[in-house]
């Protein structure tokens, strides 16, 4: 997935010299190919994220297409005001990359873990939020981000969980992608790292429909409504806080349908990580590991069939 990101970035930058990569002194090894292919388009802004976003706004205002790279804890969260005022208020074509979203930096603690970035970003008008779930979705998301020519936050979480799709995909902004058909009355919606987790649940015996949500904002409300109407229960799984994340977005849309579809939000509860440990350990701590997910989904299934 990270290779797909790097490849897409290099390809776009080689085709358009107006594309510039700005990094806050992050991206060790990730940008080797870029620096080799497009050294003039690589700008290390130092460990100063607020300035980096302002600089990106100035560059965009003068006709460039900056890609701003940071860890999700910093881009977008630390620089939220710069994103709001410098970039989004003028709808400038800047692509913000938040790497390591969720619990990727499991050993480093809460400063580098990012489970509130979607909630923060989605309240800013005009900022699209992309959250690809495998390398094919990453390639498509990068293409979409460059095509939009307006502010985009691309959330990059745990990236080595394997493929979900069998071949390259493409998607419209807001479009949900069906990855497993089903007719049990329950549908799983998942984004980013949790897409593979949802798929694993289904492939290990849970008979449910699975949709990938590579765009968190805007969401295709009509498509989502159609999916919700066909099912009695919608489970949303994400490596993000249940406050303000995809689960909240979906719940808001389904609530506004005044229907009978029920929603189960699975994500990070309203708390910080307590302990140090591996990524898998932290998923367990937050009940996002396969066993916990299965238990939560089964509980919801039991309620639906009551």
């Amino acid at each position: 997935m990270r290779n797909a990101f790097s490849d897409a970035l290099v390809m776009a930058a080689k085709a358009d010299p107006k594309i510039l990569l700005l990094t806050g002194d992050h991206g060790y090894a990730l940008f080797d190919a870029f620096r080799k292919a497009c050294p003039e388009q690589y700008i290390n802004c130092g460990i100063a994220e607020q300035n980096m976003v302002g600089v990106a706004a100035g560059l965009a205002r003068a006709g460039f297409f900056p890609v701003v790279y940071g860890l999700a804890a910093f881009v977008p969260v630390r620089v939220l005001e710069q994103i709001k005022i410098d970039i989004c208020y003028e709808a400038l074509p800047v692509v913000l990359i938040g790497d390591g979203a969720g619990f990727v930096y499991s050993h480093l603690g809460s400063s580098h873990q990012s489970t509130e970035d979607i909630a923060c970003a989605r309240a800013i008008p005009g900022l699209a939020i992309l959250s690809p779930g495998d390398r094919f979705e990453m390639s498509a998301a990068m293409q979409l981000a460059f095509d939009l020519k307006s502010p985009v936050y691309l959330r990059m979480g745990k990236s080595d969980r394997g493929d979900v799709h069998a071949a390259p995909v493409s998607f419209r902004l807001g479009e949900l992608l069906c990855v497993r058909a089903g007719n049990t009355g329950m549908v799983l919606l998942a984004t980013g790292s949790m897409l593979k987790a949802a798929l694993d649940l289904v492939d290990n015996g849970l008979g449910a429909e699975v949709w990938s949500v590579p765009t968190i904002k805007p969401l295709d409300t009509q498509q989502l409504a159609a999916i919700a109407t066909r099912n009695s229960g919608v489970v949303v799984i994400e490596e993000h806080s249940i406050s303000g994340g995809l689960g909240a977005c979906v719940t808001e849309i389904i609530a506004s349908m005044y229907g009978t579809t029920r929603v189960c939000r699975i994500g990070v509860e309203d708390r910080f990580s307590q302990y140090c440990g591996s990524y898998e350990y932290l998923l367990k701590e937050h009940q996002l590991d396969t066993l916990s997910l299965r238990r939560r989904v089964d509980e919801f299934g039991a309620i639906l069939s009551e």
């Binding site: 510039l20 700008i43 802004c45 130092g46 100063a48 607020q50 300035n51 980096m52 976003v53 302002g54 600089v55 990106a56 706004a57 100035g58 560059l59 965009a60 205002r61 003068a62 006709g63 460039f64 005001e81 710069q82 005022i85 410098d86 208020y89 003028e90």
Partner: protein
């Protein structure tokens, strides 16, 4: 009449402030001569196209002084007489802080510490595009409290942005008191010099001195960003407002408006 006459600009500011019953009058008055000299002699702008691609940029980072910029933009023709008279009217576009949607305003500033970074981005863009555009950014001395200012200064020095001119409006006050009382700045020229800028001090109300300072910035393309620390008087131009920090937040009443306007008119006569 002289173009961008400081007293006329102050009259426009006063008209706006009175019709909008708004604050930040002292903050606008301190930067009038700086903007007058820039708009009159240095900014290469297109009267018919505020977004002309090769224009110079004037970023008002201390966005709360925006009435002074509106007064210049009014003279330039970007802002109409109706907009001046109907300042703060419902449904109008001129806000109380610098807003990028207004023609001639290049960044949204009012939340302090934003404009210098945007200006640095514009300066880098001009460098990459190999244009001779100049980027001016006006920051307040109180605004120097903001961390991103110093991030941006380091950036501008590192990337050798000598097409960037930073003007500091050193009026010695910020919202709640003098800069010495609130957050001691020390010697501002020394601070910028220590970061690697070329910094000079000038009387911010002496138009000839300002003009010379800007000329000298253009002549020294020595890879160092330029800093002009302009010593100014908050509330400059109206005797009872000068150095009285109350005019950061005081609104004009009919008596104070008439007294101020009378004083400005007498200055012209």
């Amino acid at each position: 009449m002289r173009r961008f006459d400081a007293t006329e600009l102050r009259k426009t500011i006063l008209t706006m402030a009175y019709s909008g019953a708004t604050v930040h009058i002292g903050c606008a008055f301190s930067i009038v001569e700086i903007l007058a000299v820039l708009y009159r002699n240095h900014l290469r702008l297109d009267r018919d196209n505020p977004r002309a691609p090769l224009r110079d940029y004037m970023v008002l980072s201390k966005g709360h002084g925006v009435m002074a910029q509106y007064a210049c933009l009014h003279e330039l023709g970007y802002v109409s007489q109706e907009e001046v008279r109907d300042y703060f009217g419902d449904g109008t576009r001129l806000k109380g802080l610098a807003d990028v949607h207004v023609p001639g305003v290049e960044a949204t500033c009012g939340s302090l510490g934003h404009g210098l970074s945007v200006a640095a981005g514009l300066a880098l863009a001009a460098r990459l595009n190999k244009t001779d555009q100049r980027i001016y950014v006006l920051v307040g001395d109180g605004e120097l409290n903001e961390g991103p200012i110093w991030e941006a200064v380091m950036f501008a020095v590192h990337f050798k942005l000598d097409n960037l001119v930073i003007v500091v409006d050193k009026n010695g006050f910020q919202a709640m008191g003098s800069t010495d009382e609130v957050m001691r700045l020390g010697n501002i020229e020394d601070k910028f010099s220590a970061f690697g800028c070329e910094a000079i001090a000038v009387d911010g109300h002496d138009e000839a001195a300002l003009d010379e300072a800007f000329m000298s910035c253009h002549q020294h393309m020595d890879e160092r960003p330029k800093v002009i620390v302009a010593k100014t008087v908050k509330g400059k131009g109206v005797s009872f407002m000068e150095n009285d920090n109350a005019w950061h937040y005081t609104r004009l009443k009919v008596d104070s408006y008439n007294a101020a306007m009378t004083e400005l008119r007498e200055r012209i006569a």
